[in-house]
Symmetry: C2
Subunit: 204 residues, 2 copies
């Protein structure tokens, strides 16, 4: 069985960078944007639309659940899209995990791949650190005021938590669901990735 | 300011062993039994009695709180003992943290020493792993049946959580209160301590 490392992460906590560096250190595959590309290919939906759904960036995206029944608050075709994206996401992750050792960021990988016994990491940090990291990246959010940026980060994390809850029935970020939870507020990502690689090299 | 590493840990999770190995790797002080000895000296209470209080092993030990008022459910002299042990515990930890770099296991060190900006680790594992670890140690619990052992572990952890809550106002094991949470169910302690030492050597 391949060795799979999954990384759940709060928005702006540096989880993606940890995953990328860790995969580089270990010389194993790293799947992030490739997941969206593959889902897009299989569902025939536009990459940007799939990205919006799986990244939980949209306000309207998140399904309201009554029991385990899915309600998007949107139209029927949206409901169909969400359902097919969720289904293909699971298939894509399983296919990737079967190909080789890999690091998979987000997308409920820890839960979807639980039969592959992944090493499950959760990355988080305080709001100030997350805001600072978003500012450093100077990406599409650079026009936001501090207040708007904080609001956006909290909204995305809230959506991720709701999505994880819906998909897994578990609480996002609760330590029992992970092998290691890492607070990047005061830890340098580079050294952290090195230490994790050290652990995996001796453990694998 | 000295570099302080605090380790909160579920009973039987191996937190103490991680702390000891980490301190050895880093060549810094490790405080565990020394804390009890020092409290005993300062309060003039027997070591075994202090141990029972700070380790939360006793059923009758734990204070019931109404707001922040302390009720032990025991006699007045017990209340006085608990209060003086709590107070001296904080003094002892602060004195130790002022002496040199060190690893401090348990005793709400993460909270008591927060002004020293400690690196706060929380160690946990699933109940099966904790039971297995207790069995391996073959200590004073070896006469217990599996059911009794599980019950004892859950009781001690529950008391630790209540104690932490009382003392800090925070939830024991909630990831936001720590810099790293480590699940030892599937991680080898030896390699884990090495990886942590690697991280601290490059970080310190």
């Amino acid at each position: 069985m391949n060795k799979i490392i999954t990384i759940g992460r709060e928005f702006g906590s540096g989880g993606r960078e940890i995953g990328k560096r860790l995969a580089e250190h270990l010389g194993i595959a790293y799947y992030d944007k490739e997941i969206v590309q593959e889902i897009s290919k299989r569902t025939q939906l536009a990459e940007s639309y799939v990205h919006q759904i799986v990244e939980q960036k949209s306000e309207i995206f998140f399904p309201i659940t009554v029991g385990r029944t899915l309600h998007t608050g949107g139209s029927d075709y949206m409901l169909r899209h969400y359902t097919s994206v969720y289904a293909e996401q699971a298939n894509v992750l399983r296919d990737m995990a079967e190909q080789s050792d890999c690091v998979i960021v987000g997308r409920c990988g820890d839960y979807i791949l639980k039969d592959q016994n992944p090493f499950r990491i959760f990355v988080y940090s305080d709001i100030a650190s997350k805001m600072a990291r978003c500012r450093e990246k100077a990406d599409e959010h650079e026009h936001l005021s501090d207040r708007e940026l904080e609001k956006m980060i909290r909204r995305i994390d809230k959506n991720r938590a709701k999505y994880y809850r819906y998909y897994t029935g578990q609480r996002w970020g609760a330590h029992a669901n992970y092998d290691m939870c890492i607070n990047t507020s005061s830890l340098p990502i580079k050294e952290l990735a090195e230490a994790l690689a050290h652990l995996f090299n001796s453990k694998l």
